[in-house]
Each structure stands twice: as structure tokens, then as C-alpha cells.
């Protein structure tokens, strides 16, 4: 799973968000490192929806403008949990190796 995809799923883990909300949350989560553009965001949302990981939760018209809110599906939550476990496992393995290396050269 690519980082932008991971971050999009993460932003939707707690509550439904509209497109701009997702962009803002991704920026916050990544400490400003990842800035999603609209074209990229909706391309990713299309792919995630095809895979059944996100769905439209509701639509709103605010000041005459359409907003759609997206949320994680059950499959999306499971996929995110799986990815978190994978990243955590890899991070733990890397940290363990680094501790070994430091002990050897100390």
C-alpha cells in the first residue's frame, strides 16, 4: 500500500470526511510532508472504492456546492489494520536490528 493511500484510509478511520477534509487531514498526519492534489485524491478514492475499501456516506450542498463524505467500509478498516500490523512488524524488526548493531559496535 502506497503512503498516500495509507494516509487517506487513516484519515477516514475515525469519521467520514469530504474531499478537502481528507486533503487537510493527510497534511496534518504527515506533518506537512504529503500534500494531496484534487486529481490525485479522487483517482485514489476511485481505486479504493473499486476495491470496496471506502464508500460514499452522504452528500451535502453547502452554499450551492456539492460535498460528498466518504467513510471506511468494514473491508477498508480490515485493510488498514493489516497494513498497520505490517508496518509495525517491519518497524519492530528494523529497530531490533539497529539495537543489535549498536550493541556490537559499542
Amino acid at each position: 500500500m502506497q503512503e498516500p493511500t495509507f494516509l487517506i484510509l487513516t484519515t477516514l478511520a475515525t469519521r467520514p470526511l469530504h474531499g478537502y477534509g481528507v486533503i487537510q487531514e493527510v497534511k496534518t498526519l504527515s506533518d506537512g510532508r504529503v500534500t494531496l492534489r484534487a486529481g490525485t485524491l479522487y483517482g485514489a478514492l476511485d481505486r479504493l472504492a473499486e476495491d470496496g475499501l471506502v464508500e460514499v456516506e452522504r452528500e451535502e450542498a453547502v452554499d450551492g456546492r456539492l460535498r460528498r463524505y466518504y467513510r471506511l467500509t468494514r473491508e477498508g478498516t480490515a485493510a488498514l489494520e493489516e497494513e498497520v500490523a505490517r508496518i509495525r512488524h517491519n518497524a519492530d524488526a528494523a529497530a531490533s536490528r539497529l539495537r543489535e548493531a549498536r550493541a556490537r559496535f559499542a
Partner: protein, 345 residues
Amino acid sequence: MSLERRYGLLLRAYPRRYRRTRGAEILTTLLDGAAPGQTWPHWRDAADLVRGGLRYRIMPPRGAGYLVAAGLSAVLLGVIVAALSATLTWRSVESGDDRRALDGFLAQTGAVGSATSVERLYTVGAWQPESYQQVNVLFDGGRGAGMGDVDRRLTAAGWRVHRLVLGNDVTDSLIADRDGDSVELTFLRDPNGATTTLIVDYDHRVPGRVWQGLLGGLLAGAAAGWLLAAWFLRGIREHRGAGARAGLLVTGLTMLGLELVVLLTMASYLYGGLDGRLTSARLLAMPGYALADSGIWLLLIVGAAVAAATVSRASSDPPQQGEEHRVGTVPVRPELRGGSGAQPG
């Protein structure tokens, strides 16, 4: 011009069908992110929208089946347009006086007698490309040249000659080539020894510009085939009703039939063209001729018409009972339908 209007223009990079369902939403997101007083789109947003729109137009839906279908469509249209383009180029650059070239060659062989027929060869329901002719010339038994003599004359004229061993006493054959022209000569001896019939297949070299026409046609046709398939398959993907499925089936079977014609024709030429006279131009041109001359091209029109009608109807009709409505590729629950189709720009 307002920022909203400018974003609307950029959104035209996306297909209309996509804009109809997604455009208003993307526009809202873009305007939400705009700085106060901003009147021009940021260049990164502009590049991102154009890239996203082109990607959506070019790529078929995800999945191996869609990719294979788009690939087959690209091959089919590529071959047909390449054949058409090569033929038109060939006719525009050639004098068309194949007979004169043939007469010039016959003068070099020392043949005596006159041609009894000059004709194009027919095969797989279509005639061969230019300059591929069959001529019968009579040799007078006493005065005319035999194969050995023709061999020497042609060699002296700069032809590279290869004799073929046919294993019978009434037929001899040789193949010669020079400067891209090639020729096959078959000598049929009268059992009485009075006359020899010479059959000449003269194969004029492919003019250089034909290759350019061929390559251009191949690329243009393949690109068109890919884009048409991507457009059609996206339409089917987004509207999964019974009508769309039936249209997909008819179009798929039609295209499959055409693919079979193209591939079988090419295979037959590969199999039969081992004498060295087969060129890539002919190999690519033959399926086009076969399709055009046999009337099978009607299938292409039927397939294209069904495809266009299917996608057009699927795009314009509201979802029916049991059909899934999708925003782009995102499924929308029935209670959310309606009131969201504003189109930007």
C-alpha cells in the same frame, strides 16, 4: 474569468461522463483549498488535473480482462489502419506501371514469346499489394532460353539467383533478387519438348515511404483502438445493467471474430511466406485486405455501432431497478441518488 471558471476549464481534461458525476465535487474541493483572492489555479493543481484527466481517458478499468480487451482492440485497429495507410501511401508513390517493370525484367531473361496473361494474384479473398504479378511467357523450344541460360543472364545483370530443386522432370524453379526486388520463375516444360511455359511472379521492392505510412498507420490505429476500447469498457464498467452486459457480449464477440480473421490471415501468410518474398508490409497489409474484400468489415461497423449505442444509452439513462449507480467508479447507495449532477464549466 473567475477561478471557478478556470478550474472548470481544467476539469475538461476528464471525460464528460466523469465530469457529470464527479466534476461538481472536485470543483468544490479545489475551491475549498483556494487562497483568499486567488484568481488563477496553482500550476501544481493544473498539472495534477490534466494528468488525472488524461489518465482517466487513456486507461481502461483496472483488471486483466479489460487490459486484454483493450490490447486486442489496439491490435485489430492498428493492423487495419496500417494496411489502409500502407496501401494509400504505396499508390501515391508508385507509378502503377507494374507491367513496364515486368517487361524490363523479362528482357533480361532473354525470354522469347509474349505474355499470355498479366494479372494480380488473388488470395484470401483479396488481391496482393502492388507489383505482385503473374505472367505466362512462351519459350519457343528451339530458340528460347532454358533455365540455365536465364540463370546466367540474370547473374550477369546483377541478380542473386537461387535454384530450387523440385524433384520432377517437367518443372524447374529459381528465385532471384536484386535491390529489394525479388522474382520467382517457374519453368513448365511441355512433355513433347516443343515449348516451355515460364511463370513469373515479379515482386517489386516496397518503396521506402510505404514503411513510414505503415508505421504511422499502425501507431495511429493502435492508439485509436486502445482509446475506443478504454472509453467503451469504462462505460460498461460504470453501468452494469442487463442492456450494457448484452452490448458488451455482442461487441466482444464481434471483435473476437475480427481478431480471428486478422490473426489467422497473418498466420497463413507467415506459414506460406517462407520463400523469402513475404515482407512485413504484406504481412500487415493482408489482414486489412482480407477484411475489406470479404465483407467481414461489416462486422466491424456492427460492433462499433452496438458499442456506441450501448455506452451512449447506459450513460444517459437513469439507473433501472436492479442496476447499480456509480459516481465515477464509486457506488452510491440508492437513497443518495439525485440532486448531485451539477456540471462545472
